[in-house]
């Protein structure tokens, strides 16, 4: 069989194999993405065509105070979750990796369990536990502050509490990634370090930390992207309130699109959030990689 013939057959097989994914990807991802970009330059309602308005939606966004409040709340939430959840996951992973056999599997399962819950169940559990009148956690809050706090109706408490719920919910996945990273570090290295006279503290900072860094950087980046996309927890727990203190960019997009019927404007918000996520996460990943290389 000639080479050209074989090439053609290989090409046919390749196309056949990637076609299902490419088609689904194009119909449900590429085309909608294109539509969002196109919509953001029009004054279209949610359904139906609109007129081309150029950059009008974007200029309007720049003078929208609520948008900047939302963006600020997003960044505040990132600050509250990304590094804390990574640190907590690392501490849990280090502890769990010290356990043996079944105990380790059990501990891992327990920490992973919340992650399999749907967000509606998570928020329901926590809104009950934190209920102003009957919540089981209110005595704890009372012990600290001296009085019960309706956390999701208090402007100071709302974002930190949503962060706590989110960390509780998603931490198991980070623990899993970090445990996998820890298992990749050969136990021989710790023995060699022990013979070289390293204390447990030095063993962590000179071996575990640098060798785990690629995984830690991955966890930080994944978390950053995930937490910038915050919507469900806010929508279900506080609906953006009180006084817009938990209003985030996706909340605003949702309201503009599905409650105010401003398809074009909502698309512009989505585009800006998309750009923010791309820029921030690429920037962070590059910074983290540089940090790991030195």
């Amino acid at each position: 069989m000639s080479i050209a013939n074989r090439r053609r057959r290989e090409l046919r097989a390749a196309i056949l194999l990637i076609a299902p994914f490419v088609i689904v990807f194009a119909v449900f991802f590429l085309y909608p993405t294109y539509k969002v970009v196109a919509l953001s330059f029009t004054n279209a309602p949610l359904i139906g065509e609109g007129d081309w308005v150029g950059l009008a939606n974007y200029t309007k966004l720049l003078s929208d105070k609520l948008f900047f409040t939302s963006l600020w709340n997003n960044l505040y939430f990132v600050l509250l979750t990304v590094i804390p959840t990574t640190v907590i996951a690392l501490l849990i992973a280090l502890t769990v990796s010290k356990l043996r056999g079944r105990m380790q599997a059990l501990a891992l399962t327990l920490f992973f369990l919340p992650y399999v819950l749907p967000v509606s169940v998570v928020t329901m559990i926590w809104s009950w536990m934190l209920d102003f009148q009957f919540g089981v956690l209110q005595p704890l809050i009372m012990a600290v502050t001296g009085k019960a706090v309706p956390v999701f109706k208090n402007p100071h408490w709302v974002m930190p509490m949503i962060a706590v719920v989110t960390i509780w919910w998603t931490n198991g996945f980070n623990v899993l990634l970090l445990i996998a990273g820890l298992r990749n570090i050969s136990p021989d290295l710790y023995e060699a370090a022990a013979l070289d006279g390293a204390t447990p503290w030095q063993r962590f900072w000179r071996i575990t930390w640098p060798l785990l860094w690629p995984v830690t950087a991955l966890v930080l980046t994944l978390q950053l992207i995930l937490q910038l996309k915050l919507f469900d927890q806010v929508y279900l727990l506080s609906n953006g309130g009180p006084f817009n203190q938990s209003y985030v960019v996706l909340m605003q997009m949702y309201r503009e699109a599905f409650q105010l019927n401003h398809g074009g404007y909502a698309s512009a918000i989505a585009m800006v959030l998309f750009l923010v996520i791309v820029i921030v996460s690429v920037l962070q990943f590059q910074l983290l990689r540089m940090g790991g290389r030195k």
Partner: protein, 361 residues
């Protein structure tokens, strides 16, 4: 001068209910090259790790350089270890790998540079100091691991099967380098291997381990010439010794007369002072190099495989009874494949063992 030897007294190790080391006494003198050798699972690596302090000692006493270190931290024992996997820190350069222990000890920069450079000089690593371990070949990584040990200037070097990840040619080369290094440094070294050739070529003293006990210890050729039991006899020497079941049929002045099973027309006279009674079942051990082809009466071997190495040939075959036999011949191209050969052991080169494996002298 201070004794930097290693001394073990009644050392035992249990993993749960399993006894791995069942009571080991051994002495490695200052500057000696000792080799622990034995089959997989004999406890040789465990024993080495106990000396290093990486495994707890259940019972007994470990003394290094005149100090009781049975329960001391690994770092406080004055030992350095070279791991089978090399255990190089992958994120650090060769220089930093070798400098690791000195940095932890907060030594001055100039001293660190000097010591690492000196070790790198001995091991021909000077051109590779800035590389990461992943950029090095297997042999170079091995050298870095040794360099890391040298830099610490320990009383005792411990090697855990350090050459088993190298290819055959490199292994021979590194073996020679280790022997030279031992001469150059004059430090006490304890080396674990399952390869009896490594043991024979490197050791001042070999400790043959099996079943959690030291079966025999001594200079390599002493073990070869005078094994104290059937296990050591079979383990030391390559290819390993032939064993034949036999029965004592008669006594002579200073010997027993033994008849091999399945060889009714052949009796062998073996001089031993401790003569078992007539009718006792014994085992005769004869090394392949002590079986000579003869034209007269002897053991009839059907040769089925010939390993020709050029200088020597190993003829593998079976006796009429089905026992496997190996005998060695000088030179090559004997064309014995498929033929029946008659061989006789050299007189005085037959070892006698009791049925339970103990040597009868």
């Amino acid at each position: 001068m201070e004794d930097t030897g290693v001394h073990l007294r009644g050392v035992k190790k249990k993993f749960g209910a399993i006894d791995v080391i069942r009571g080991v006494d051994l002495d490695v003198g200052k500057g000696q090259f000792a080799v622990f050798v034995g089959p997989s699972g004999c406890g040789k690596s465990t024993l080495l790790r106990m000396i290093a302090g990486l495994e707890d000692t259940t019972e007994g006493k470990i003394e290094i350089s005149g100090r009781d270190v049975t329960h001391a931290d690994p770092a406080d024992r004055g030992v350095a270890m070279v791991f089978q996997s090399y255990a190089l820190y992958p994120h650090l350069s060769v220089f930093e790998n070798m400098a690791f222990s000195l940095r932890l000890a907060k030594r001055p920069k100039a001293e660190i540079t000097e010591k690492v450079r000196a070790a790198a000089g001995i091991l021909q690593l000077v051109d590779h100091l800035d590389k990461k371990p992943a950029q090095l070949s297997g042999g170079q990584r091995q050298r870095v691991a040794i360099g890391r040990a040298i830099v610490r200037a320990p009383d005792v070097f411990l090697f855990d099967e350090p050459l088993s990840n190298l290819d055959a040619e490199l292994r021979v080369q590194m073996r020679l380098e280790l022997a030279r290094l031992h001469k150059a440094l004059g430090a006490t070294m304890i080396y674990v291997t399952h390869d009896q050739v490594e043991a024979m070529t490197l050791a001042d003293t070999i400790f043959v381990l099996q079943g959690g006990y030291v079966q025999q210890s001594g200079a390599p050729l002493d073990l070869y010439d005078d094994p104290s039991n059937r296990f050591v006899a079979g383990f030391i020497g390559s290819p390993s010794m032939n064993f034949f079941d036999a029965t004592v049929v008669d006594h002579s002045a200073a010997a027993v007369v033994a008849q091999l099973d399945g060889q009714p027309d052949l009796v062998l006279e073996v001089p031993v002072s401790d003569r078992p009674e007539t009718g006792t079942r014994i085992v005769l051990g004869i090394r392949p190099e002590h079986l000579n082809v003869t034209a007269s009466n002897g053991l009839r071997v059907t040769v089925d495989v010939a390993e020709e190495l050029g200088g020597v040939s190993y003829q593998h075959g079976t006796l009429e009874g089905g026992d496997a036999v190996i005998f060695q011949q000088a030179g090559a191209r004997h064309g014995m494949h498929g033929t029946v050969q008659t061989v006789m052991p050299e007189p005085g080169r037959i070892f006698v063992f009791s049925a339970d494996g103990a040597r009868i002298r």
